[in-house]
């Protein structure tokens, strides 16, 4: 019997793809009007009042430099809290209320998709947040202008007081800038192309030996020879060998006849050189020895095997690792140098191995920071930063501000005011020197005359002029501080980021409200927001961090890409990084938020909102009441 063809079953009408911007916009407008009818805007005047009162009642250590950043920071905080309140308490209200009042049932019978409902609600709440944040933003901007005018006059008074006491005219630059231009100037940085590189002003006599590499005493600089491919270790395994050094030395100018002492040390590559603190005749191997350099500059150091007790003045070869020889000058102001062929290794049988190349010079370093030792007289260390061909059109119309910022280890007497100088060198060799009093962790602003330099290559030398002090330098220690455009635009960008924060929060709230009652969705939204705010901590302090690192290594091994970290972290903790949407402190301090940063924030916010809208739509589609 022939099979009868099966009757086609009447299938449930499939939901057409209903995703039009007009319907989305219509729902958004309805939600927006609903927000206005709910009188959410009544929160705006109290928020403005709180902002002003909180700012006025907040103590400041130095109002000239702190009041305006603090005011901006406070206004952004108030906006963020407002966005949080709207996103948490009101974005979660709309859907449960409509489901409760059965309004939703009549809506879903209309040709409207679930994604359009959730997306429209989110967009509507986002508009409410924009309106409220915008109102507070406008008030915050106006209030900041008022504060700025009072700060400018205060800076003028302070400048008049400080001028007689200033050690150098450049010390007043920052105060002068506020007094003249007000505290609302924005800026962006132009980084040096290279630097810092540590060098020495060696003086005329030493400069006559161009092939010699120099180090300066008590600065942490050292001459370094790599002995990895030499036979020293094999030679001294059976009997003692020797290191023959020929050094050039220049005693400090203040003590020209003082004997020059150096520390000679053998170490392993990758192991930081530290001073041994051992008692004479103590047990264990000896890796370093202190010696006086005779006028001839010739030194001979006996070297023995790793397990041999060394006689006085001899050193052991480290048992493992690539061998490295260090020479360190021990007195302040002493110059010690070595050129090509300055080191010869002598074996037990008198065999010789001459090192043809000149030693390398290493500077004192702590993690990523380089130490620049201070000295009142030359020779002294200097740090070099280079700017390659800076375009003149980015420098603006006036003098170019240069920001010099370091951390300062002041070992000089507490009552000695530290001093530093910066030498600007043009491509034609013309120089301009500016002296100032460095503050630890607080940048100095120096001005470079437009007539002296306005674009092109520039070399900047930094020197510390006080004995015993150290400046710690990073690549950003010297950078050009260029004008950043109108304050209003930068502030508006910050407000936009707060709005993005509120929009993502609203998306979370609307998504939670698709399957929970109002109160429960408030609680869930708060929990999700808090976890989002501390997701960095979650990734650091929980096993999820380890999992993220493993995934990152695997993905990077498969295809190297810097963006894997962010992707993997969002896979492991699938919540948006809300903290990154809130403007950083640097924005409050006047640093320009770049359009790229803003675009990135927009991108992340849009992606987060899309995910929450789709999840919310999926949940809503599967809710009984909405089928």
């Amino acid at each position: 019997m022939a099979k009868r063809p099966a009757h086609p079953q009447p299938s449930a009408p499939r939901e057409r793809r209903r995703w039009t911007l007009s319907r989305l916009w219509a729902i958004a407008l309805v939600t927006f009007r609903q927000g206005l009818r709910t009188r959410l805007w009544v929160l705006v005047p109290p928020a403005i009042l709180v902002m002003i009162l909180a700012d006025l009642s907040s103590p400041r250590f130095d109002p000239v430099f702190e009041a305006v950043p603090a005011t901006i920071s406070m206004s952004l905080l108030v906006m963020a809290v407002l966005a949080f309140i709207v996103g948490t308490f009101f974005a979660t209200y709309s859907l449960p209320a409509e489901l409760e009042s059965k309004v939703a049932q009549s809506v879903v019978t209309k040709p409207v998709g679930r994604a359009e409902i959730v997306g429209g609600k989110t967009l509507g709440m986002s508009l409410v947040v924009l309106l409220m944040v915008g109102c507070v933003g406008v008030a915050g901007y106006a209030y900041t202008l008022v504060r700025a005018s009072s700060i400018q006059s205060l800076a003028g008074e302070r400048l008049a007081e400080a001028t007689p006491r200033a050690a150098y005219p450049a010390d007043l630059n920052a105060l002068q800038a506020v007094a003249t231009n007000g505290p609302l100037e924005t800026y962006r940085y132009y980084a040096a192309t290279s630097g810092p590189e540590i060098d020495i002003d060696v003086g005329l006599e030493a400069a006559a030996s161009p092939n010699v590499r120099w180090i300066l005493g008590e600065t942490g600089m050292r001459l370094v020879w790599s002995l990895a491919n030499t036979p020293l270790r094999e030679w001294v395994a059976s009997a003692p060998g020797r290191l023959r050094l020929r050094l050039s030395v220049t005693p400090p100018p203040e003590e020209p006849k003082a004997p020059v002492q150096v520390l000679v040390a053998l170490g392993s590559a990758g192991v930081e050189l530290t001073r041994e603190n051992r008692q004479p005749g103590g047990q264990g191997p000896v890796y370093q020895v202190t010696m006086s350099v005779p006028p001839s500059g010739e030194l001979e150091i006996a070297v023995v095997g790793p397990n041999v007790r060394p006689p006085a003045g001899a050193i052991n070869v480290p048992g493992a690792g690539d061998l490295v020889l260090y020479v360190v000058a021990l007195q302040s102001g002493t110059l010690v140098g070595a050129g090509p062929g300055a080191l010869t290794l002598v074996g037990p049988a008198g065999q010789e191995y001459a090192m043809a190349e000149a030693p390398a010079v290493a500077s004192a370093r702590q993690r990523q920071r380089l130490a620049l030792a201070g000295r009142a007289k030359t020779p002294r260390e200097l740090a070099v930063f280079r700017f390659d061909n800076v375009p003149g059109d980015v420098l603006g119309q006036g003098d170019t501000p240069v920001e010099a910022g370091f951390s300062l280890d002041a070992w000089s007497s507490a009552m000695v005011q530290a001093a530093a100088q910066v030498v600007f060198i043009r491509s034609d060799g013309q120089t301009k020197t500016v002296r100032f009093s460095p503050e630890s962790h607080h940048s100095a602003i120096l001005y470079l005359d437009r007539e002296f330099w306005h674009g092109g290559p520039l070399v900047v030398q930094v020197e510390c002029l006080t004995d015993d002090d150290f400046l710690w330098l990073v690549p950003d220690s010297v950078r050009l501080r260029l004008g950043g455009g109108p304050f209003a635009w930068n502030y508006a960008k910050a407000v936009l980021r707060v709005w993005l924060f509120g929009t993502v929060l609203s998306a979370i709230g609307v998504c939670c409200s698709t399957f929970l009652s109002w109160f429960v969705s408030i609680l869930l939204t708060i929990v999700l927001v808090l976890v989002s705010l501390v997701r960095g901590f979650v990734l650091e302090a929980t096993p999820l961090g380890g999992l993220a690192r493993q995934l990152y290594d695997a993905a990077n091994g498969w295809h190297p890409w810097a963006g894997w970290r962010s992707v993997v972290e969002h896979v492991v903790v699938p919540l948006p990084d809300l903290r990154s949407l809130i403007p950083a402190e640097s924005v409050s301090m006047g640093q320009v938020m770049t359009l790229a940063d803003l675009g990135e924030a927009f991108g992340w916010a849009a992606l987060s909102v899309a995910v929450f809208v789709l999840v919310g739509a999926w949940i809503l589609r599967h809710r009984e009441v909405a089928r």
């Binding site: 309805v30 009007r33 609903q34 206005l36 009818r37 009642s57 907040s58 103590p59 400041r60 250590f61 430099f65 702190e66 950043p69 603090a70 920071s73 409509e98 309004v103 009549s106 809506v107 300062l408 002041a410 007497s413 507490a414 009552m415 005011q417 530290a418 009093s437 460095p438 503050e439 630890s440 962790h441 607080h442 808090l530 402190e585 409050s588 301090m589």
Partner: protein
């Protein structure tokens, strides 16, 4: 989806706005009128009672009579003796703390995290504000005041180079702690730390020559004398109410005042020596009037120094005698006795110097005197 907004607007009774504002004002006044007295007269006395800081009836009577006398004399006194002096200016912070309700915890945790982050990043523009807010919310914890004040006086001050800036941070830390004392009058730890800031930071730090001059300009007294006053209060409060938290031992609380007096005596001795030296210099350059003026100043300072050394001697003697009877290491008591003997010898020697010192023999006597060091 929703009702027409126009209909809602039409239904809204007239005058609703005014009523809302009026209700808001009434609510604010009632809340303000309740919070402050509640805190001052109910919550705080109860808290003190729970902490075991109530006065016995006899002492209450004595304090009440003192209160009456002081009031008649025109002094501003506290109704609850020894209780924190709540003022009307605290109303705002009290109200904010109350309004925050359960959010106080997360908010103060966020403030702690931000403040610590900013300290590490050397971003200072909001730091004092954050510290103040933390302290306002957690004002009942002496350790909070101590920690934050220490940060300002010791960790933040050294992030600056100029003595002026450093001094401002130390002052800020000290004032912060004095405010902490106002809110925690029974905390000997806070009182001891204030004394310690004056003595160790302002009096003995590397920059102390500058600091001591500034303290004298700002407060009109020697920093060691001010330190003594705070240490003295610390030991009194420690005796009466004990210590809480990580604790402040009786011996330590008590010895601070003795050290402060000793340093005060050293400082006065230095002053007299410096005045005599200035007199000699003036005499050598032929400025006779200046020389006599400096000599007179030196004699005055020497007289005060002798008095201060006697005072230090008494303090150390009391300390040694008292703690001989208490359970503390004997080495500590021995040290007190050494300090006592030093003070006694200095007082005797300076008295003898003073007796034989005349304008004429100044050079000979001064050659035998040694300028003491603050250490």
């Amino acid at each position: 989806m929703t009702e027409s907004p126009r209909a809602e607007v039409a239904d809204r009774p007239r005058g609703q706005w005014q009523r809302t504002v009026l209700y808001g004002i009434v609510l604010a006044v009632v809340v303000a009128g309740v919070i402050h007295p509640l805190r001052r007269y109910v919550v705080e006395p109860r808290r003190q009672e729970l902490l075991g800081r109530t006065e016995p009836p006899g002492r209450q009577l004595a304090l009440a009579s003192q209160f009456a006398f002081d009031t008649v004399a025109g002094y501003s006194v506290r109704i609850v003796p020894g209780a924190p002096a709540y003022e009307l200016s605290d109303l705002a912070t009290e109200a904010v703390t109350l309004i925050l309700g359960g959010f106080r915890g997360p908010y103060v945790a966020w403030l702690w995290v931000k403040a610590e982050e900013e300290k590490q990043k050397k971003v200072h523009f909001d730091l004092v504000d954050r510290y103040t807010k933390i302290a306002m919310i957690q004002h009942d914890y002496p350790a909070v005041w101590q920690f934050l004040a220490w940060n300002m006086a010791y960790n933040l001050s050294v992030q600056w180079q100029s003595p002026e800036r450093k001094y401002q941070w130390v002052r800020r830390g000290t004032e912060f702690l004095i405010e902490g004392n106002r809110r925690n009058t029974h905390s000997p730890e806070i009182l001891y730390d204030i004394g310690s800031f004056y003595m160790n930071k302002l009096g003995l730090a590397q920059e102390s020559s500058y600091y001591r001059r500034r303290v004298r300009e700002d407060e009109g007294h020697s920093t060691f004398l001010i330190a003594y006053e705070w240490f003295d209060r610390a030991r009194t409060i420690r005796e009466r109410y004990g210590s809480s938290g990580y604790g402040l031992s009786k011996a330590v609380a008590s010895s601070g005042a003795c050290h402060a007096v000793s340093y005060y005596a050293v400082e006065l001795t230095q002053d007299s020596y410096d005045a005599f030296q200035a007199g000699l210099d003036a005499r050598q350059t032929g400025r006779e009037a200046d020389a006599r003026k400096h000599f007179a100043e030196g004699m005055d300072a020497l007289r005060e120094a002798v008095g201060a050394w006697h005072w230090a001697r008494r303090e150390w003697l009391d300390q040694a005698v008292r703690f001989e009877k208490e359970d503390i290491p004997s080495s500590l008591v021995e040290r007190y006795k050494v300090f006592y003997r030093e003070a006694d010898q200095m007082a005797t020697k300076l008295e003898a110097d003073r007796a034989k010192l005349t304008y004429e023999n100044l050079a000979e006597v001064l050659a035998q005197m040694k300028r003491p060091e603050l250490k």
